[in-house]
């Protein structure tokens, strides 16, 4: 009660200030406890030998030095980069094709937009469980279908070779995420006035000329956004490899997050995992900076 009484003694503006602080306080506390402190702790832990149980010890930069000779870590950086480079173009190109197809409001177009977008709201973990079954060599329908069509002579073990494992993971991820890129690009396409195309047609421009000189330049920012979001998602990939390939064959499909997960929560080398998290963080901050640069207003 005393707090309330002293509040009443304050001026209206002061009371508004305090009320405002009280409104945002819960959010600030949550972000502090579950985000800012863990973030600072990641740095702190990365300078320690930090097992889950037992004593921890300050070891300076040793974890970071160890990273430079950890062959699996370097392999996971390389793998994540290759995966990102390979998965981004098909997502973007198919996303663009889908966006162009559903651009105009022809009858029934809403249903098609919904269908293409549906996989986006399914979890990546669950969609991976779905695809790992579709692609299975014994019970998978894809192998049965390819056999019946005469495309293959015996069931394919997609997960047994690094290249085919990569290819089918990409297939599943494209299915799962392309709807998101489609919607982004659709919004961009619809922002271009029809008159531009009409006057270009009067001048005799064909489809590819319109694409090259009108669509792509005017959609720079949307395209940059779609690409960067897809790159960030790929750099952080984990679920699809954990579930579909289990990191195999012969540890060839272990992404950065996967290797952090293994070190921290299988081997419980948490300090080492934290050092890798910092590397991941730096990569992501650079990517976000690129995003802001590409999306800045004065382009």
């Amino acid at each position: 009660m005393t707090a309330l009484q002293s509040l009443q003694g304050l001026s209206w503006i002061q009371r508004r200030k305090i009320t405002g602080i009280l409104f945002v306080l819960p959010t600030v506390i949550f972000v502090l406890i579950f985000f800012i402190i863990p973030l600072l702790m990641t740095f702190f832990m990365s300078f320690h030998d930090w097992p889950l149980f037992g004593d921890r010890a300050f070891i300076g930069f040793d974890n970071y030095v160890d990273l430079t000779t950890d062959r699996q870590f370097l392999k996971s950086l390389d793998f994540t980069a290759r995966y990102t480079l390979l998965v981004t173009p098909p997502i973007f190109i198919l996303g663009f094709i889908l966006a162009s197809l559903v651009r105009h409001n022809i009858p029934g177009i809403g249903i098609f937009r919904t269908i293409f977008f549906m996989p986006v709201v399914i979890g990546l973990g669950v969609s991976s469980l779905l695809w790992v079954w579709l692609l299975n060599d014994q019970v998978g329908i894809i192998n049965r279908f390819m056999l019946d069509m005469g495309l293959v002579t015996k069931p394919q073990l997609f997960m047994a070779k690094p290249d085919s494992a990569m290819a089918v993971v990409i297939l599943s991820v494209v299915w799962k995420t392309v709807g998101f890129t489609m919607i982004l690009l659709l919004a961009g396409l619809q922002g271009i006035p029809d008159e531009l195309y009409e006057s270009a047609e009067v001048d005799g421009a064909g489809y590819f000329q319109k694409l090259l000189y009108i669509t792509l330049p005017l959609m720079r920012r949307t395209i940059a956004l779609a690409l960067i979001l897809s790159v960030i998602g790929s750099v952080l990939s984990f679920d699809q490899f954990y579930i579909m390939t289990n990191g195999g064959p012969r540890n060839s499909t272990i992404s950065i997050v996967y290797w952090i997960f293994n070190n921290s929560f299988t081997y419980f080398k948490m300090g080492y995992g934290a050092a890798m998290s910092i590397v991941l963080l730096v990569i992501l901050v650079i990517l976000s900076a690129v995003q802001f640069y590409l999306l800045r207003d004065n382009t």
């Binding site: 508004r16 200030k17 405002g20 409104f23 945002v24 819960p26 959010t27 600030v28 949550f30 972000v31 406890i33 579950f34 985000f35 800012i36 402190i37 863990p38 973030l39 990641t42 832990m45 930090w50 889908l98 197809l101 919904t114 269908i115 293409f116 549906m118 996989p119 709201v121 399914i122 979890g123 990546l124 973990g125 669950v126 469980l129 779905l130 079954w133 579709l134 019970v139 998978g140 329908i141 049965r144 069931p155 299915w175 998101f180 919607i183 982004l184 956004l225 952080l236 984990f238 579930i243 997050v257 952090i260 997960f261 929560f265 948490m270 934290a274 998290s277 963080l281 992501l284 901050v285």
Partner: protein, 297 residues
């Protein structure tokens, strides 16, 4: 005679144009239908497999269509593991519900505070909340785990929900702040002059006006927490507390005996349905969030 054939073969430019457009639109529809079938195929096939008799679901090579439609795969899944499907669905539902309620309360209060009040440090705090968008949660999971272990909130549905709420906050705050900013200030000022407290203005008047924003925030909180995999995999160390995706991953890896593909697809369908139903029914709100959240940021 000669004149009529001439008229039939020679088309005006407008007719040719119209004819070309009709062909283009036909090709478009054919492409759309083929692509739509390809996109639907995985979900459809999972569903078909889930209603096959278990022996047919395990057949090598697989059959295309079931000889009879049964729910055996679903009932079998309820006996998997220590506690079965129902417990894991309810785990996921509890976490999702806590996340939705927590996210709505915090983002509404915070969004209102950031939109309507002036206090020292406001901009810094707002930037702090939003800057968390740039930092992937994957990189802070290790200390989060260590912290939750310390307060014994690891392996608890509440602990997982608290982490999920935090992941949802930047989006929630951003969206709710914009929703409040879109409401004309005069309405509130009148009520405040009449002596209403800020909280009752928010509760009695503003909530109705920003309701679409709340629905959007709730949809994202639900779908994201219902689907989340990595944090749930790390934090839930006791089988009984596994959320649905973690439970299903164990079905797939054969932790509960031989891999039962029919049961697995039944589980996939169970976990797909809530997100799909919410998305299809509330699509407008979902898309608002996409445009407000992704495009503007």
């Amino acid at each position: 005679m000669a004149e009529t054939t001439l008229q039939q073969t020679r088309y005006t430019p407008q007719q040719i144009q119209k004819f070309r457009q009709r062909i283009i639109i036909t090709i478009k529809y054919i492409l759309l239908i083929v692509l739509a079938l390809l996109f639907l195929f995985p979900i459809l096939w999972s569903f078909i497999n889930s209603i096959k008799p278990p022996s047919e679901a395990l057949a090598v090579p697989p059959t295309y269509l079931p000889t009879q439609i049964v729910s055996d795969n679903y009932t079998e899944l309820t006996t998997f593991g220590r506690v079965g499907l129902v417990q894991h669905v309810s785990n996921s539902a509890i976490v999702a519900l806590l996340t939705v309620v927590g996210t709505i309360i915090l983002s509404t209060l915070g969004g209102y505070g950031f939109a309507r009040f002036h206090f020292p440090g406001k901009n810094i705090l707002f930037i702090m909340v939003l800057s968390t968008l740039m930092i992937p949660f994957q990189s802070i999971l290790i200390p989060l785990f260590v912290m939750l272990v310390q307060v014994e909130l690891h392996n608890s549905l509440l602990g997982l929900a608290l982490v999920y709420i935090t992941f949802q906050l930047p989006f929630g705050i951003f969206l709710m702040r914009n929703s409040f900013l879109a409401v004309p200030q005069e309405i509130e000022e009148a009520a405040l002059l009449d002596g209403c407290t800020s909280l009752s203005v928010l509760y009695r008047m503003m909530l109705r006006l920003v309701f679409p924003g709340i629905v959007t925030v709730a949809i994202y909180a639900f779908i994201n927490s219902w689907n989340e995999f990595l944090a749930a995999l790390i934090f839930m160390t006791d089988q009984n507390n596994f959320t649905l995706p973690i439970f299903l991953t164990n079905v797939r890896s054969g932790l509960y005996g031989i891999i039962d593909w029919g049961a697995l697809q039944a589980g996939v369908i169970v976990s797909i349905i809530p997100s799909l139903v919410i998305f299809i029914l509330l699509q407008r709100y979902y898309m608002n969030g996409l445009m407000g959240g992704a495009v503007k940021s």
